[in-house]
Amino acid sequence: MKAAILVFPGINRDRDMARALKLISGHEPAMVWRAETSLPVGTDLVVVPGGFSYGDYLRCGAIAARAPVMDAVRDYAAKGGLVLGVCNGFQILCESGLLPGVLMRNAGLKFICHDVHLRVERSDTPFTRGYNAGQVIRVPVAHGEGNYEADEETIKRLEGEGRVLYRYCSADGVVDEASNINGAAQSIAGIVNDRGNVLGMMPHPENHVEDIMGCTDGRGLFAGLVQHLEKAA
């Protein structure tokens, strides 16, 4: 796997992501600065990591979404290349137009930083093939603006086309109001674009990949991507 991790001022989960990718794929990812106008040759996964790009000024992800490197990411995604955005990366992908909708302030107004449970809605995608459909995984979240919202028609399309891949749920997999930590529409934690090659998610799978982290439930996402790319190659 030749992964490229985008780096913007204020991004702070880029090293966590690089460590997780190295651990699971065996290959050191390339770190790509915001001002670059192209991605490294042979890139087969672009990751937009979490953090606070540009201090969350204006709107979360708004300024990073307009950086030169994002034009290269748009071209790459248009050709079917895989793009994964986590946390601030999800916000950046929404602001850049690569994913529909927007991440609003958490309904409870508080910054949320703890483990959550996610239900994997399907296993037949590059981003979920490391899991079983219906499987519940535990991963951390750390965000103040993770409340996914979109107009009614967009939500209907996302649901109708099976594009919600991860949903907040209870420990035993029940999707309800109590487990919907930030008030997101339909308890959405992660969605893909219409072509299925761009995933945005608020939780941090890269922070649950080693025993020392207390949980390795996040590994499946990366292992699945590695499998998918090996099969495609």
Binding site: A62, E95, G101, R105, N106, A107, L109, A150, G183
Partner: protein
């Protein structure tokens, strides 16, 4: 030339910050507040004095960056 771009949330978009401000005003005993919606104001200094051109520039700024038109409306004023 001075200009102002005002960005507000579209009707129907949940505004938890506005709700919190509304609650704070009520707890301060400010009477008669029915509801609060918050937004952003950008005061912009423009080079040149062509009003028509200025409006085009401001609209471009709002569409490209200042507002997320999925959830926000904006208004451009030349001052």
């Amino acid at each position: 030339m001075k200009a102002r771009v005002t960005v507000t949330l579209k009707t129907g978009i949940l505004d938890p910050q506005g709700k919190a401000i509304e609650g704070a005003l009520k707890s301060l005993g400010v009477d008669g507040v029915a509801s609060v919606r918050q937004g952003k104001v950008f005061d912009i200094e423009l080079a040149g004095a062509d009003k028509a051109k200025a409006e085009v520039v401001l609209k471009e700024a709002a569409d490209k960056l200042l507002a997320n038109t999925v959830i926000e409306n904006y208004r451009v004023e030349l001052l």
